[in-house]
Structures are given as C-alpha cells and as structure tokens.
Symmetry: C2
Subunit: 209 residues, 2 copies
C-alpha cells in the first residue's frame, strides 16, 4: 500500500470514528420511551404484574361507569378507573389504529374522595387502589388472542380470569377495536376513525341507535 | 510517519469507529424518557405550549372539583380534570419530594359524557377539551418562581395569567408542596410525607381541622 493511500485510509477512519461518536449525541431522544416490558407468566399461568404501569401512556379516566345502576348502599361511594397502555403498543396504535401483539392495557380503580383539604364539591382520587386488572394480547398463547388478569396483592402476580367469564363476551360484542373499549378513549377514537379500524360489532351497535 | 505506524493508526481508528457505532445499540433505554421539553416564551411573554403533554407522566384526575357549589344551570354538566407533569420534573420529585426548576404541570379539562355506547351510569371522558392550563416553575423569570398560563387555541400559545389573579394566592396559601396541590395526587403525597417536604401553610390547614 502506498504512503498516500495509508494516510488517506487513516484520515477516512478518523473522520468515520468521530462522526460515529457524534451522531448519537445529536440524535433526538424519543418522546415516548420503550417500557421494555413484555408479558411473562408464572408456572401456574398468572401474569407477572408490571409494577411501573403509572409511567406508561395514560389513556383515560372514568368515574362510576357501569352498565347497571349503582348497587344499593353504594350511592355515597364513588370509584375512578384509570386506563394505561404500554408505550410500544401505543406507538403502534397511533401509526395503525390497531393493537400489536404483546399489548397490555391496565385498569386501575381508585377510591374517590370528596370534601378533603379545601375541596368542597366533586371528587379527587385517593391512595386506595381498590382493583387492578390487566388485558393482555398474546396471540400465540390465548385462543381469543386476549386474556384478562386480576391483580392479587398476596402473590404480587395477576390471576388469569377464565374465558367463560362475562367480560370476554361483552368485550367481544361491544368494544370498538379488537375487544378494547376505544369508544371511551377520546384521544384514540379519532385514530380508529381515520384508519378505519372500528369493529363490525361496534359499528352495528352504533347503527342500531 | 512510518508505514507500520500508519497501518496501526488506521487500525485503531477503524476499531474505534466500529466500537462507537456499536455502543449506543447496546445502551438500555430508560423507563421514563426525557421529554426534552423546556419552557420557552414568545416576545409577548406567552408560553410556547407543549403539544405532547399526554405522553408525559400522568398525575391524577378529578371530577367537578371546586371550592364552591356548582353554578346554577350546570348541574347536568360535568368536567374531568387530568393532570400531567414533564418526565424530568417527575423523576426529580420522586428522588427529592420537591419540584425542580423548569417543572411544568398541565391541567387538561375534558367534558364528561354519560349514557354513551353501552354505558348506563357514571361518566367517561370525551373529545371536548374545554380548558388547558400550565403551571410553570421558572425561577429566574417569575418573582414567585411559578406562573400560570392559559392555552389560547387561536395563537397556539398559552397566555400568562397575571400575578394578581386569585389562583396565585390560593395556591400559595393552601397547596401542599411549593404551590402545587399534591394533597390531591395520591401517588405523590406519600413521597412528600416520606421526604418531609409538605408546606408549612398546608400543615397549618390540616392541623386546624
């Protein structure tokens, strides 16, 4: 190899090395991190519950939502339901209007307080987490692709809710997108309308009104 | 330069270049991204409003919270208030129980719907964003360190709410941490109790009950 070629090669590598070091420093950090979480299960079939779902993407909150009137004696008790979804699934949903494999939706039910501190009316959320449920899409594992799990504080895992429970049929028959109630998610519903991914059963429900 | 030295230099740069390319690929992605957002202002003093606050850290939601009864005629109208905070501030708060400079809290008010789809009671959030406000800590810019801004859809920026507005005095007199109502944030309140960062005025309010 000639001296001039060697000098040129050395210069190219030097520039390449510096460029490679600089490029990641200028790369923009993503607005949404990856959670890095994916569903794993115990030997008994429980879901190993994600602990940092509060740092995932917030979907919406409802209060006292039900398809039945409030139970007798519960008129003074109110509950908020917060919904979260893992960031990777959210990113995919924004792009396609559909949920990818390994989507995990979280439903966190918190007791509502009122007349606390300076608040005189309405309700705020309190430290009492009354219920925690997960809706997991794991296509190769579940016959209907999705399954529900209910958090069990004693074990720290979430127990599988069997397929015959009514949650499954109601979600299948009335949910707007792939068994999830996107009709109640105001920032996600416009995406499904734009991408044309609303379920047939939901469209039928809406048309029947 | 000798031929052997040139070859060695070229080899060193080649290895360095390859190593620099590979290292970022193995770096773990953080659970909470940095939003990379920091407050900036227009020449007129408006806040350039953050658009992707929904992908920040969720704090809590309240419904119809007020220190006064509902206005006449509004009994059938309900509003949810969602609160978010920028990830960098949240990370700092978890570690210290205090808000760092450049904290931005977001209050997003959404109209409550009921009896939509299969829902028969209670309320869910709808697409109607009725109000959007920002509470910004910018220590060198504001006399009291913090200022409130109200989103103006026409300009896409948020207008400064003047210091004489009652929000400022009420926040200063009754908020649990550094003019923010952490008493209503169930996942943040325990942190302040642990770190001992509750405000004197809030502790006085609570003791007076």
């Amino acid at each position: 190899m000639s001296p001039r070629l060697r000098i040129s090669l050395a210069a190219v590598f030097l520039v390449a090395g510096i460029a490679a070091l600089l490029v990641p420093l200028r790369a923009p950090r993503p607005a949404i991190a990856a959670s890095g979480w994916t569903p794993t299960y115990t030997a008994g079939g429980d879901l190993v519950a994600p602990k940092d779902y509060r740092e995932w993407i917030y979907v919406t909150t409802g209060m006292d939502m039900s398809y039945a009137p409030k139970a007798a004696g519960m008129e003074d008790h109110s509950m908020f339901d917060n919904v979260f979804v893992n960031p990777e699934a959210y990113r995919s949903f924004v792009a396609t209007g559909t949920w990818p494999d390994k989507t995990v939706m979280v439903l966190e039910a918190r007791e509502a307080g009122s007349k606390g501190s300076i608040n005189k009316s309405g309700h705020f959320q309190t430290g009492g987490v009354m219920d925690l449920e997960f809706h997991v899409k794991d296509e190769s594992r579940f016959p209907g692709k999705w399954a529900f799990f209910s958090y069990d504080e004693a074990s720290g895992n979430a127990s599988l809710i069997p397929q015959k429970a009514s949650c499954y049929s109601c979600h299948a028959e009335h949910a707007a997108v792939d068994t999830t109630f996107v009709q109640f998610y105001p920032t996600l519903l416009p995406i499904t309308q734009k991408k044309g991914t609303l379920s047939q059963s939901y469209l039928k429900d809406e048309a029947a009104k």
